[in-house]
């Protein structure tokens, strides 16, 4: 099967054709925002890569920024720095250029002043948005798609409706030669052995059990009782009694195909099929890892018990404007919120639609959105927050 995408020189295919401005560090956010503000179609990807990060946190931040710049949905990128950034704009641009994408770097240390950088940066970005307009969509194989999936606001209806319907769509995409990535190690607590049975070989199964055991050991070492935070009060109101129940429900979104591998955070899959990405963090951070690994589209499944925050999140479900998000709603109790979602799965709970029917609708929506149809989130542009990059410690169990 095919969709209409933008073929890239590195062999990947974009479903969007964005020009992005990436700050090398959080101190360059204002510079990136100023450059993008006066160029129609330029997207600034502001973030929180402060210099106080060390070790693995630096590695993740760099992998994420390079991956976001190299993502197939990006036509071209400008990296901007102030000069004392932990990783220079020039180095980051160099890494992105390996993906054969137009990319440039500007920084205050090489251009002299803030205004000079703005002028030089805008000249490049302005020429890029005009070039991007010349690229045409072409028929491309569905096997070129990588889908990221994540559930939020887990509820008893998540496992009845949205998660298995997403699992069906994942199965259909993988049957078409595509790739699916899911994540959130904390949500494998109590379900790792069940998922490991689907591993393509023993090594993959062992690695999966290992990443989950080491997370459990870390929680114990920290002296935290995970049962105090998982399931969350909203999950409990939604009928989920234990973390095991939540985890077993969460893995339904991975469908039924063999697990091909376990990825490090922001690591690219080596092959096609289903992958698990190690990482437990904020939803936004997990999606960033998937985008950095090459995902062009994502599904976010909502359970029920939607507080105002979830509605606010609708404007920036991924936080990342270059990555279209399909939002799926599971609970019939929230049917009044249906128009905020791309696909409503609550009829499965009512018994008037089957899991397979909704899964097929979702799969068709993936093809349409990949071919250019806007998601509900994409129709909203007013609100965005700086991207929160994955770091150890904070947010471990979110």
């Amino acid at each position: 099967m095919e969709f209409m995408g933008y073929p890239r020189k590195d062999g990947s295919v974009g479903i969007r054709n964005h020009v992005v401005v990436i700050p090398a560090s959080s101190c360059a956010n204002e510079l990136a925002a100023t450059i993008a503000a006066d160029v129609n179609g330029a997207i600034p990807l502001l973030h929180d890569f402060y210099c106080i990060r060390v070790g693995l946190d630096v590695e993740w931040a760099v992998k994420t920024l390079v991956g976001l710049g190299a993502n197939p949905n990006v036509h071209s990128a400008l990296v901007v720095g102030i000069g004392c950034d932990k990783r220079t704009a020039e180095d980051l641009a160099d890494d992105i250029s390996r993906y054969k994408k137009p990319v440039e770097a500007v920084s205050i240390s090489s251009q002299g002043t803030f205004d000079n950088v703005v002028e030089k940066g805008q000249a490049f970005v302005r020429s890029m948005v005009r070039e991007a307009g010349k690229v045409r969509r072409e028929p491309c194989d569905l096997g070129k798609l990588t889908l990221g999936v994540k559930c939020g606001g887990s509820h008893a209806t998540s496992v009845l409706a949205g998660n298995p319907a997403t699992g069906k769509a994942s199965d259909l995409l993988i049957a078409s030669g595509g790739t699916v990535i899911f994540s959130e190690t904390a949500e494998l607590l109590g379900a790792a052995n069940v998922l490991a049975k689907r591993a393509v070989n023993q090594d993959v199964g062992r690695r999966l059990v290992d990443v989950v055991s080491s997370m459990e050991a870390e929680i114990k070492r920290a002296g935290v009782d995970i049962r105090g935070s998982e399931p969350t009060p909203a999950n409990i109101r939604g009928g989920l009694t234990t973390i095991e129940e939540k985890s077993l429900g969460a893995i339904a979104k991975s469908g039924t195909t063999p697990l091909m591998g376990v990825l490090d955070y922001a690591e690219k899959p080596k092959d096609k099929g289903l992958y698990f990405m190690d990482g437990s963090a904020l939803t936004v951070q997990l999606f960033l890892g998937m985008a950095a690994a090459g995902a062009q589209i994502q599904i976010f499944i909502y359970g029920g018990d939607l507080p105002a925050r979830f509605r606010a999140l609708l404007a920036c479900a991924s936080g990342l404007r270059t990555l279209p998000t399909l939002k799926v709603l599971s609970s019939p109790e929230e049917i009044k919120e249906k128009d905020y979602f791309d696909v409503y799965a609550g009829d499965i709970v009512e018994g008037s639609e089957s899991i397979d029917d909704v899964g097929e609708r979702l799969f068709n929506e993936i093809i349409e959105v990949s071919s250019g149809k806007m998601t509900i989130t994409e129709t909203r542009s007013g609100y965005s927050e700086p991207l929160s990059l994955y770091a150890t410690g904070g947010g471990l169990l979110m």
């Binding site: 995970i226 409990i236 129940e245 609970s331 009512e350 018994g351």
Partner: protein, 93 residues
């Protein structure tokens, strides 16, 4: 009759597909929505929450999706409401 769904044949709990009242007769259906059995709810059970399908003694596993989701922290009889008041997680113990 209101329905509860038993997701796997090994399960000893089912999920309420509607809010269930105390003493109400309910049907237990399979994933393909065929009626498997009927039982009486001993308590009110909110939408999406669980009802016991069997006698589960304190210390015995609670099974959903055909997998263990925790351990009964007290004796649970057929038709009882099953949630955090009578089930405990086995993680991090």
């Amino acid at each position: 009759m209101k329905e509860t769904i038993m997701l796997n044949s090994k399960d000893n709990v089912a999920t309420a597909l509607k809010q269930i009242n105390e003493n109400e007769q309910v049907a237990v259906v399979s994933s393909s929505r065929e009626v498997i059995s009927k039982l009486q709810a001993k308590q009110e059970i909110p939408f999406g929450h669980k009802i016991s399908l069997a006698e589960i003694k304190k210390g015995e596993p609670v099974i959903k999706f055909g997998e263990r989701i925790g351990t009964a922290s007290q004796n649970i009889s057929v038709g009882e409401y099953v949630h955090v008041h009578n089930v405990e997680s086995d993680i991090g113990k």
